[in-house]
């Protein structure tokens, strides 16, 4: 099993958790590796494949090409990739409908914000983060067509995912600008946003894994992207010999995407909000609402 990309306590840790759970419950051998750069994935996957690893999971879209190449060379091994589509019989692509989740938390944010202003802090301006942003904005507008969404990004290089001080300043400036809820999708920089929420006694929304616990009382909810579930399920199938290639999509429908409600934010999410969100959710599932997807825009 391979783990690459930025170690951010939300996205990758989620994958890692899923794998670890598999290790504990299913007794598999687990090995995870962080790659130093985008060109290293291939070598690492290959090393794994050459040894006795049966299933290699590439976490993150950056590994697409590596997985594509190596999967062809090792047709009898199994591969999975998170967040990217690879067409091969022995590769399973684990895709997430982030925009759906973002839509829901956008709606929650708009409902929780009395000022009708909400914020978004993304790590870098890249398509994946734009996808979050677009869904978020649409969800907010659904609740309140006049809602104002402040959209900010932390940086222009990979440092953006680790620049919490900057993220904090961005969030502070958004709170000052009237935002009452800020959605953070910026890797380790998220903590800067949460710190800002804590200091200003405002609300923030976490991303990928459930981050509600990090700042109880200040995190309205977290948009969940159940990479752990996807990974666990994939491992389970591989172990029981039921592995199948192809694209596997995780969205609201199969609980691959969601929003977190737990003891830390029960009080923040009022029953009305929850009811309304559930309503939106079923509308999306029923196809009554089509959430705009940045990947499909021109």
């Amino acid at each position: 099993l391979d783990r690459g990309g930025k170690d951010d306590k939300s996205f990758n840790s989620s994958a890692f958790e899923g794998a670890n759970r598999a290790k504990e419950k299913l007794g598999i051998t687990l090995k995870f590796v962080e790659a130093a750069d985008d060109n290293a994935y291939e070598g690492i996957l290959r090393s794994f494949a050459r040894r006795d690893f049966d299933l290699m999971i590439g976490v993150g879209f950056a590994q697409k090409e590596a997985v594509q190449k190596v999967a062809v060379q090792f047709p009898d091994k199994h591969f999975a990739i998170v967040d990217s589509e690879v067409q091969a019989p022995n590769v399973r692509s684990l895709m997430f409908e982030e925009h759906e989740g973002a839509y829901l938390v956008g709606a929650i944010a708009a409902m929780a914000s009395k000022s009708r202003i909400i914020g978004f802090v993304g790590g870098m301006d890249i398509p994946l983060i734009r996808r979050f942003a677009m869904g978020y904005e649409a969800g907010a507008r659904k609740i309140d067509p006049g809602a104002k969404v402040i959209l900010n990004f932390v940086g222009i290089t990979g440092e953006a995912w680790n620049n919490a001080p900057k993220a904090k300043e961005l969030a502070l400036s958004q709170y000052t600008g009237g935002a009452e809820v800020v959605f953070a999708a910026a890797g380790a920089s998220n903590f800067g946003v949460f710190d800002a929420a804590e200091e200003r006694k405002k609300l923030a929304i976490g991303v990928d894994s459930n981050q509600n616990w990090t700042k109880p009382g200040f995190i309205l909810t977290s948009m969940l992207k159940r990479v752990d579930e996807a990974v666990y399920a994939t491992i389970l199938e591989a172990q029981s010999g039921k592995f199948q290639g192809g694209i596997r999509s995780f969205g609201l429908a199969n609980q691959g995407i969601g929003y977190a409600v737990d003891k830390y934010n029960e009080k923040l999410l009022t029953p009305e909000i929850r009811a309304r969100v559930e309503e939106l959710k079923s509308d999306i599932l029923a196809g009554k609402i089509v959430v705009p997807d940045f990947y499909k825009t021109r």
Binding site: K31, V33, E34, A35, A36, D37, D38, N39, A40, G43, I44, R46, S47, F48, F61, A62, K64, E65, K69, Q73, D83, S84, M124, D125, I126, P127, L128, R131, I156, T157, G158, Y295, R298
Partner: protein
């Protein structure tokens, strides 16, 4: 001359050795067996044709950036900006491949090469010009320009040239006739014509610096600006020229990356080749041959370290950074080891040489 360079090589190797030993001590401190780590490093770098290929793949950009830093160093300045220059060069190569799909095969890659070089050169000329004409220091300026380049290029990659088929922050793919196929020898590792190009450039840099008027003038400025100016050399032009040429060299990383590897510009593709280039140039004592050797060493280290995570529990890829840092540190003090030895040697064999001119004694 040759005695001196042999000595230089020896002392650089000595520095590398001391750095490696210190690094292994760190490993040992982290609770791993240093010998195992060394073996993993070696196998990861040279264990198979593919591994060797990947080592060469990493070395190729390092040759370019190392040469880039070395040329500027020879002209008496520091180029901390190879990272920005290579970023600009790479996007230029990608742009050529995307926007000029009508070019036929043999011409297409050449055009992309020229575009990458020119873009890098233009970017490199900026700090050279600022230093020559405005007197502001190139170290700060190149660092700032690295950020500016990152921002501009990510804009191009994400908006005008965005790849709609992918979730990656990257540009569209280049037309196929631009691509340089990898050599089959390396079992699929993306080592192609960029490597011979890099070696050719090393040769060219040597020729330029030591066999041409322009190179001589650059070096003269680097050795003694005042004397060079007094001898009628246009110091400002030399500064800008050396920096522009250095930028072009760094820009050629785009050939390796775009034409030889990914076929597009990807945001964040470089694991800081530009900064590693500083180390490469220093290790290689700012001589093209040394640069090639040092690039191989650091390329191997980078590739080998990727394997560490896989094989050990306690050390990670960050170790390769620690190794790099220690090696550069030790090599930077390398003059000291030798100076002391030389002083001892001369103190022993001293008789009546001395600067006191012979004609002075009766």
């Amino acid at each position: 001359m040759s005695g001196k360079s042999v000595q230089g090589l020896l002392s650089a190797l000595f520095g590398v050795l001391v750095g490696l030993i210190l690094g292994l001590l760190v490993v040992w401190g982290a609770g791993e067996n240093p010998l195992t780590v060394l073996r993993i490093l070696a196998r990861g770098a040279f264990g198979s044709r593919y591994d060797l290929g990947m080592t060469l793949f990493y070395s190729t950009p390092l040759i370019f950036t190392g040469l880039s830093v070395a040329v500027v160093f020879r002209a008496g300045m520091f180029n901390i900006g190879a990272e920005g220059q290579l970023t600009v060069g790479t996007i230029a190569a990608a742009m050529a491949g995307i926007l000029l799909p009508f070019l036929p095969m043999p011409i297409a890659p050449l055009v992309a090469w020229v575009c990458a070089s020119l873009a890098g050169a233009a970017w490199g000329a900026i700090p050279g010009w600022l230093r020559a004409r405005r007197g502001s220091h190139e170290v700060i300026n190149t660092i700032m320009l690295n950020f500016v380049a990152a921002g501009l290029c990510s804009y191009f990659a994400l908006y005008p040239l965005r790849n709609l088929q992918s979730q990656n922050p990257e540009t569209r793919g280049i037309a196929s006739q631009f691509k340089l196929a990898p050599f089959p020898l390396f079992e699929g590792a993306p080592v192609g014509w960029a490597l011979p190009l890099a070696l050719l450039m090393a040769l060219f840099v040597w020729f330029l610096l030591w066999r041409t008027v322009i190179g001589f003038e650059w070096r003269a400025v680097g050795l003694n600006e005042v004397a060079a100016r007094a001898a009628g050399i246009d110091v400002a032009r030399a500064r800008v020229g050396a920096f522009a040429f250095a930028g072009a060299l760094a820009g050629m990383v785009g050939v390796a990356e775009v034409l030889g590897n990914s076929g597009r510009f990807r945001v964040g593709f470089s694991p800081e080749y530009g900064f590693m280039g500083i180390a490469v140039a220093l290790l290689g004592r700012n001589h093209p041959a040394g640069v090639v050797a040092a690039a191989l060493l650091l390329g191997a280290l980078h590739k080998g370290a990727a394997e560490l995570d896989l094989e050990t529990d306690r050390v990670t890829r960050d170790l390769s950074l620690v190794f790099q840092g220690l090696i550069i540190l030790c090599v930077s003090a390398e003059g000291w080891w030798f100076q002391n030895r030389r002083r001892k040697a001369t103190a022993g064999s001293q008789k009546s040489t001395g600067v006191v001119p012979a004609s002075n004694s009766p």
